[in-house]
Amino acid sequence: MSAAAMAFDGVTKQFGDFTAVDHLSFAVPEGTIFGFLGGNGAGKTTSLRMALDILTPTGGRIDVLGNPPSRESASDIGFLPEERGLYKKMSVLDTIVYFARLKRMEAGPAKQSAMALLERLELADWAKSPVEKLSKGMAQKVQVATALVNSPKLLMLDEPFSGLDPVNQKMLEDLIADAAKDGATVIFSTHVMQHAERLCDRLLMLARGKKAFDGTQDEARAALPARLELASRTAPDALPGVESAEAIGTAEDGWIKYDVRLNSGVTPEQLLEHCTTNGFGLRSFDVQTPSLHEVFIHFVGANEEIER
C-alpha cells in the first residue's frame, strides 16, 4: 500500500457527554477514491471537520498529507461542505478567485484556473454574473469549482451529491473520476450507496461514530454470505453449504427456480462444482452480486437512514 493521504488513529470526538466519533482508525491510500458511508449522525461531517482543523479531536491522532491537521495544508486541499452557500452579491468569477486566494494562490493563476474550470463546467458565460442570479444547480457547480480551483492533492467532499439533479450528479461523478485520474485523492461522504458503488475504490462504513467496515468493495461483498438463483428439479436445500433455499415462481416443465443463500465462507463456485460432480441437475445458475446497500445493512444494520 502506498503512503496514506489521510490517516486516523484512535480518533475520538466528544461534544459534552456525547461521543460523535469513537476510536476511529483508518487510512486513505494516496490516489484512491474513498467513500465515507454512514447514516445521518454517524460522524462523517465531524470526521471531515477534524481533518480540516475546524474541530479538534478529543483524543487520538490525525494525519493529513503527512502533517497534523492545519490551515497550512489548505493550499493542497479542496473542500466542499455538506451545506452549501455562497456570497450572493459576489460574481461567480470573484467567488472562485476569492477561495483560490484564501488557499494561497496568487491572483493571476487563481483567475486563470477559475476561468478554465468555468469553461469546463459550462459556466464561462456567467463568470461576471452575481451568484444570486444563478439557478440552484449552477450555484452548486460554482461551489464545486471553489473546491477544485487550487488543483488539490486531497479533495474532501461532504455529501457532494445531495441536492443535485441526476444530470449534475453525473457531471460531478465525472469530475471526481477525473480528479482521481489526475492523481488526486478523493474522500467523499455519502448516505447514498449508489454513488459509492460506482466510484469508490475503498470504503469506510460508520455506525454511530464507530467503524463498521474498512476495505475495498470486493472485500466488503465477500464478507456477505453468497446468494444465487438456480433452477433444478429437486429442492437444493439439502446440498452442502446451503443455508436456505426458497422456491420462486411456478414450475416450468418440472424445473423450479430457487433463491439460494449459502453459509458464510462458501462460494457459489464450490456449490456449482458439487452439483456437477454429483449429477445434481441444473438448468440455470445465476450468482447474485450483493448490492452495496445490502452490504451496508449487513455491517451497520437496517435502521440507519440511508438510501440505495
Binding site: R49, L52, I54, L55, T56, R71, A74, I77, F79, L80, P81, E82, E83, R84, G85, L86, Y87, K88, K89, M90, Y98, F99, R101, L102, K103, R104, Q143, T146
Partner: protein, 500 residues
Amino acid sequence: MREVMLVAMREIRQVLGTKGFWFMIAAVPVALAVSGFASNQLAPERSVAYSVVDETGLYEDRITARLEYDYQASELRDLAEYVERWELQDAVPDAPWASRQSWLFPAEVERFADMGGSEAAIAALEPFREEGVPEFEPDDRSYEQIAFPDDLTLPDAGEEPDEKLIAALEGDVDVEDRELPFGAVLQIPANFGEPGAEARIFTNGRSNTGLIRVIREELSGSLQDGAFAAQGIAPDTALAIQGLQAPVSVIEPPPGAGRSVVATRSVVPIALVYLLLITAVTTGSLMLQGVVEERSNKLVESVLACIKPDALMQGKLLGLGAVGFMIIIVWAGTGMIGALYFEGFAADVLRPSLEALDDPLLIFAMLFYFVTGYIVLAMMFLAIGAVSESMQDAQSYLTPVILLIMIPVLIVMQAAISGPDQLVVKVLSWIPIYTPFAMLARLGTGVATWEIIGTMVLMVIFVWIELRLLGRLFRASLLNDGKPTWKRMVGWLKSSEAGR
C-alpha cells in the same frame, strides 16, 4: 495576515457594492451643500446701495452718520476678536481694538473711526503679524449711499412710484468698482415733521431690515429732538437725556475660556459623537448582515476550511474599520472644504470650530476615542451576528443593544453641554462602552490630562479583552447550529477551547 487582508478586502468590496453605503456617505456633503446653498440664497446680499432724497436737508446727514457709526462699531468688534484670537492685544496696547468691549462705547468707536478704521488698524498691526497669522479682512459696508439717479423721478406724496423707478429698484447700480443691488430710496418731503407728512422708503422688495430700522430710529430721534426743543429743553440737555445710559459694565471671562470659545471648541468633538454613532451603527449593521449571511448560509464552513476563525473576525473588523474610516475622511474632508471655500451657515459654524482645535493632545484624543469607540461598537455587532441565525433573530438582540448604547449617549450629550462636570458624565467616562462618547462630548470643555490618559488606557485594555472574548464566541458559535442559549454563550466565553 495575508488572509486577514483578503477577508478585509472582500468585506470592503461588498460594502462598496451596496447602495445604502453610497447614500450614507453622500448624506453629509449633500446636507452641507444644501445648508450652504440655502443660507446663501436666504441671506440678504452683503451690500446694498441706497439713496436719500431729503427735501428738508435736515435728516440725511444724521442717517449717514448713524450707518457709518454702526459699520465702524461692527468692524471694531470683529477686529477686537481677531486681535484676541491671534494674541495681538499688545501690539498697540491703547488702541480701541485691544479691548473686546470697546465697540460698545460710542467714544471708542469714534476714536477708532477717526484713527482711520480697519485700514489703519491693519497697517498698524502689520509689523506685529507673525507668519501664519492671516491679515484681518474688513467687511464691506452693508449700505452704500449713492446720489439719487438724475434720470429717475420720485412720485409726489400719496402717489405710486412710476415704472422706471420700480425697474431701477429691481436692478443693480455701480458703486465704485462694484455692482450692488439698488435696495432703497428714502424720500423725505419738505413738510416732514408736520402732521400728515410722511417719509417714504421705496425698496426692491427684499427686507433690508437693518437699513429700515436705522432710518426709522433716526427720523424718530430727530422728531423727538424737535419735541424736546418745543418743550423748551435745550438741545444739549436733550442730547444728555438721550445719551443717558444705565450704568452697565461688561465683564468678560479671561481669553480662551469663555462659553463661546468652549462651545466652539466642542462643535467638532460633539459632531464626532454623532458621526461615531451613525457610522458605527450603519457599518455595524452591514457587518452583522455579512456574518449572519455567512452563518445562515453555511458559507462559513468553506471559509473556515481555509482560514482560522480569528483571521476571519480580524479581517472583518479591519475591512469594516477601513470603511468607517473612509466615511469619516469623506465627511471630514467635505466639511473642511465646505468651511474653507464656501460661505454660509455651515461654514460659519465649522470654520471657527476647526480653528479652535489648536491643541495636539485634543486632536489625538479625538481620533483615539473615535477609533476605539468604533471598534468597540463594531465588535458588539459582530458578536450579535455570530450568535444569530437570521436577521430577525439578530434584530431581537440588536434592539436592546442599540438602546443600551443610545440612551446613555444621549444623556451624556445633554449633560456634557450644559455642565461637563456633572457626575453622570464623569461616571460614564469610566464605563468602557460609553467612554468614547462621554470623553468626546467633554473634550471641548477641557478635561484633566490624567483623565484623558486614564480612560485611554482603560479603552486599550477593554478593546483587547473584547477582541479575545469575541474570538472565542466566533470560534464556538460559527459552526453551531441553532440559536445558542445564554448559558452556552457564557460557557464559550469562559473557555478558550470553546466549541472546538
